[in-house]
Point group: C2
Chain length 103, copies 2
Amino acid sequence: MENELFKALADPTRRTILEKLAHESMNASTLRDGMNISQPAMSQHLAVLCKARLVRQERQGRYINYEVDPDGLVAIANWLTRYRAYWPQKIDALKSLLEEMDP
Amino acid sequence: MENELFKALADPTRRTILEKLAHESMNASTLRDGMNISQPAMSQHLAVLCKARLVRQERQGRYINYEVDPDGLVAIANWLTRYRAYWPQKIDALKSLLEEMDP
DNA sequence: AAATCATATAAGCAGACACTTATGTGATTC
DNA sequence: GAATCACATAAGTGTCTGCTTATATGATTT
């Protein structure tokens, strides 16, 4: 759902979590390193991100490994397409996005 | 600022306003048509959207005309580029985004 | 210049949200 | 199978947010 997606992204702590996961998948405890946040808080944030399909989990023995879920990102891109008429002529941001993808 | 951007988009009423403006620029009073919302509420929402650079205003005689501001949209696209490694092979959403733009 | 009309601000309130501590669950290891 | 360890849920609290009504601002029109 669209609302869950944007609400999930509205919190800076969750965006930080997402960015960390984009760099490397890891479990919840490792995610906490360097972030001044309690264990339940991290658990709650991850639940919100999972529900928004921005993150997905996969049990890995004793730990649960969290990783970026492309589904949520695609949903944002889809949302952005509604405003394609308003892109400026120079779309550097989109250009770089494209260069990384196979046509 | 990134936080203002996502917080602005986190509210469904504001996303509705943005979508209406994407279809056609208009003033605040016209925007209210069909939306069960008070005049001050609309004014406050527009202020938030303007601050996030998703909407810009331009006085037009007696009215103020509001329109989509590409700056905010580009900022989202920029943010998305951080996760380009996670795009799936089939990127229909992005494809359609590109097809509308001149290379 | 006075009146009018579109928009902005003030003040206050109810609900949502992010955080905490305490406790529960559930898989793994010894 | 009992202990352990990662993670989830419960319950409570302060703050933020979006809404309202009332009032102010500020440009336009007569």
